[in-house]
Subunit: 135 residues, 2 copies
């Protein structure tokens, strides 16, 4: 029954149907805590560079041995940042022989993009005039 | 001249033309530092709840007096979180009489949504089979 309900939810409208909209309704505490964990993982320049290197790689996956040389950081530090990205559900990895290979989990970035997208038809507010009026 | 160049950039393709794509090319250090600051502002449950309350408000702006009661936090703590959201370019505010009123800056959330959106036609990788093969 619960599985069927989940399938129905997924079928009724994608991200909007299953996930809280950051811009359309107030988040509750649990939703906010869950989402903050992912944004916190993105809130670091090294992790953002790692994520962009992994996500933009032709072929879809990157050996950790190709990531480390781009940074003036130790291998354990890089691995720690990669672990935080993995715990946030942004990437996954697999060990093959000596090296670990990483790839993007696009479901998570898709979810974030959906949360940050305004509902269709929402106009950009024009606050220029009012802001100028006070000066 | 520089204003004209900016207009031309904006006219050639929106977010893709003006901003680095997080998922399409490796970020450089400066781009990553700039972007990390915004994601860091989002990486806190209280700030996410504040942002969602402001963004989803009918009428487009919220009095700080309507935000504070939703939290078990002091007014100065709420104000500090609001300041961090403002410094990240996610919201702006205006004092009118006793109270300060806040509103979303949708240009910033639009930019983040664009950065997290995969290029059209990118398929979701199917890694289920390979992940299962090793177990």
């Amino acid at each position: 029954m619960s599985k069927q309900e989940l399938v129905m939810l997924e079928g009724t409208g994608g991200a909007d149907a299953c996930c809280p909209g950051l811009l359309t309704a107030p988040l509750d505490e649990e939703q906010a805590a869950d989402l903050a964990r992912v944004f916190k993982a993105l809130g670091d320049p090294v992790r953002l560079r790692l994520l962009s290197m992994i996500a933009s790689k032709a072929g879809g996956e990157v050996c950790v041995c190709d990531l480390t040389p781009a940074f003036d950081l130790s291998q354990p530090t890089i691995s720690h940042h990669l672990k935080l990205l993995r715990q946030a559900g942004l990437i996954d990895c697999e060990r093959r022989g000596t090296w670990v290979y990483y790839w993007l989990l696009p479901e998570t970035t898709d979810r974030l993009a959906g949360l940050l997208t305004r509902p269709a038809g929402t106009p950009l507010p024009d606050r220029g005039e009012r802001a100028g009026a006070g000066s």
